[in-house]
């Protein structure tokens, strides 16, 4: 199989996803494109740690052939699992939902120390608001279930 640079996905899957191009990089590891070499066709790339954290189930078994390698240009190889269609179909991972649209990063902007402080505090407050809004949505969901 010819290795080709993996492009960011046009859309993200709902349950969990790992965008191979956005793997967290280790310190001192040069920022680089990764090459994904799937052993099987896959449309969903998940690291086991992520699955274990959020979606692990004893009912899902992974074959050795599900393994793919992610190779950095520096030659380092990271292993991962591509969920083959058999798993996706069984668990509906590919069902439609709200997807984050890839956005172009904003250009760096010079700011004052005061604005840096404001940005930091704003980030914290906005995160708390988002968290609470999510809890409210959850509450509505569970209340509906109770009815």
């Amino acid at each position: 199989m010819t290795a080709a640079p993996m492009l960011p996905p046009a859309r993200y899957d709902s349950a969990t996803h790992v965008d191979v191009a956005h793997f967290p990089r280790r310190l001192n590891e040069p920022g680089a494109l990764y090459l994904a070499q799937p052993r099987l066709p896959f449309n969903y790339a998940g690291l086991w740690s992520l699955l274990a954290g959020q979606n692990a189930s004893a009912d899902i078994t992974f074959l050795v052939t599900d393994l793919f390698e992610v190779q950095g240009l520096d030659g380092g190889v990271t292993g991962g699992w591509g969920l083959p269609p058999r798993v996706n179909r069984a668990f509906g991972i590919m069902t439609g939902s709200q997807f984050a649209q890839p956005q172009q990063p904003q250009l760096a902007r010079r700011i004052s120390l005061a604005e840096a402080c404001r940005l930091a505090v704003t980030a914290l407050l906005e995160a708390e608001e988002r968290r609470q809004a999510e809890r409210q949505r959850e509450a509505v969901f569970w209340a509906a279930l109770e009815d």
Partner: protein, 210 residues
């Protein structure tokens, strides 16, 4: 109630409750970073493309939290994982305004069976819990084990007693054992249509439901 107060030299265990645990939230698309003498608002993907560590300004809020790292690991790992503790009516808004035991009992027991994302902690003024509280499994924090150990007298409030610990570890494992699935797969056509109408998001039928 369900808490006990361990000796100062007692090692950190799962179910230990800490105060003043730092929670950090960042906006990765507008990260205040420092490059040399300059301060910039930059995107994480852009600023992290160099091989150097990124120097950034972040806001930290001290919160209460409970240890989720299991006991074997709490004595040796570099970082301890904790889940944030908040007021119960904040974590579970359906508990807001529930004053009478009939309602609170229902929320605490029934909802706890249905909704696996929190763990109830009853009030106890002995550790500063003047209200009903809850562990929010969604909010996971990470703190240096060494720092916690060096400051146990100031940071550790209490720990869950044996019964509560057994329930806590079960609920914690249940939370992580969950996985997503399409629960409508066995519905017949009529049931599926009802299900689809009840959900705001688009739902596709399985082939046998068309």
């Amino acid at each position: 109630m369900i808490y006990e107060f361990p000796a100062l030299d007692s090692p950190i265990r799962q179910g230990d409750i800490f105060q003043t645990v730092p929670r950090i939230d960042v906006n990765l698309s507008k990260l205040p970073v420092f490059l040399g003498d300059e301060s910039l608002s930059d995107d994480w993907l852009h600023v992290s493309s160099s091989s150097n560590p990124v120097l950034a300004l972040v806001a930290m809020r001290p919160v209460r939290a409970i240890v989720i790292t299991q006991d074997c690991d709490t004595v040796r790992v570099d970082d301890i994982a904790l889940c944030e503790i908040e007021r119960f009516d904040v974590v579970e808004p359906s508990g807001k305004g529930a004053k009478y035991p009939t309602k609170t009992m229902s929320v605490i027991t029934k909802h706890a069976r249905l909704n696996l994302k929190w763990f109830y902690l009853p009030p106890d003024p002995g550790l500063g819990f003047n209200d009903k509280m809850a562990v929010d499994f969604h909010s996971v924090l990470r703190v240096s084990r060494t720092y916690l150990e060096q400051n146990l007298s100031q940071l550790r409030l209490a720990r869950l007693n044996q019964v509560a610990t057994e329930h806590f570890r079960e609920r914690l494992s249940e939370y992580y054992r969950r996985y997503p699935y399409d629960e409508w797969y066995p519905l017949d056509k009529a049931e599926f249509e009802e299900y689809r109408r009840s959900k705001p998001e688009p739902i596709e039928p399985f082939p046998w439901q068309r």
